[in-house]
Symmetry: C2
Amino acid sequence: MDFIELASALERLVRLFRQLTTARDLSLTAAATLATLERDGPRRLTELAVQEGVTQPAMTQLVARLHEAGLVERAADPADGRVVRVGITEAGSEALAARRASRADRLTVLLSRLDDEDRAALAAAVPAIDALTEAVTVHRTGAPA
Amino acid sequence: MDFIELASALERLVRLFRQLTTARDLSLTAAATLATLERDGPRRLTELAVQEGVTQPAMTQLVARLHEAGLVERAADPADGRVVRVGITEAGSEALAARRASRADRLTVLLSRLDDEDRAALAAAVPAIDALTEAVTVHRTGAPA
DNA sequence: TATTGTTATACTCTATAACTATA
DNA sequence: TATAGTTATAGAGTATAACAATA
């Protein structure tokens, strides 16, 4: 397989996707963090930083912004006074759902310009993309997501 | 097709790809701009801004940074004194090649963790990804890239 | 007047380093 | 001492608004 070809194709895809983002959207990391919290439940701040691949100060600040916006809640850990446990709120789940729907809409517009064969090829690649991103998460965190 | 599934798979891919980027790397827009200049030859600053989907001031500043780094050259247009024509330099092409190779390397490591079926599915999706990004570019610029 | 590009300014997101609080 | 998290500070990259130069 020509990895340079695949790498540039993926890179173009990433740029396209990034341009789907509008100014009011949640940032990529913000959305990914909310998605993690929704899928896996409350997590410590440090765990989130590792999971999302940002530094601890960056996660502190992201969580502060999300908290300010009412999308997450922060709770003390009764067993360890240093620990902050972060959980998604109802409003956070709603924001995530709205973002997903809106991005799916925009993606639908793009996909409508493709022929059936191309659409089928993209759909067929979804499990592989999942496996790829899963492989990285496992590698980084040392445990399945 | 389930567009929300595809949209989230692409979103995870975007985050994965962003994390492939190291601090010294060219930014995504910088790399895309250099790739455009290499593929299509010198272009006006405004054309580049439209092509890459950023504002004109953002492109002015990006080109300034790239120029500072010796990766592009700026030339006046003899026919129109307002116009700046931007071209890639030898050093720019080399930087682009190095980045491609390094990202392909990192991608190769990730792909090595997948099974043959997943790798084949990704390879099969490359033409569809090309078509998708092409469709967007054509739509935005009003002409084939 | 319209177009091309720049400058001024501000905001988001990120990083590293220094710090506080708890274990 | 080590760990969890915060605060301080700086830099990249983006946007909008106001501007200068040329057509």
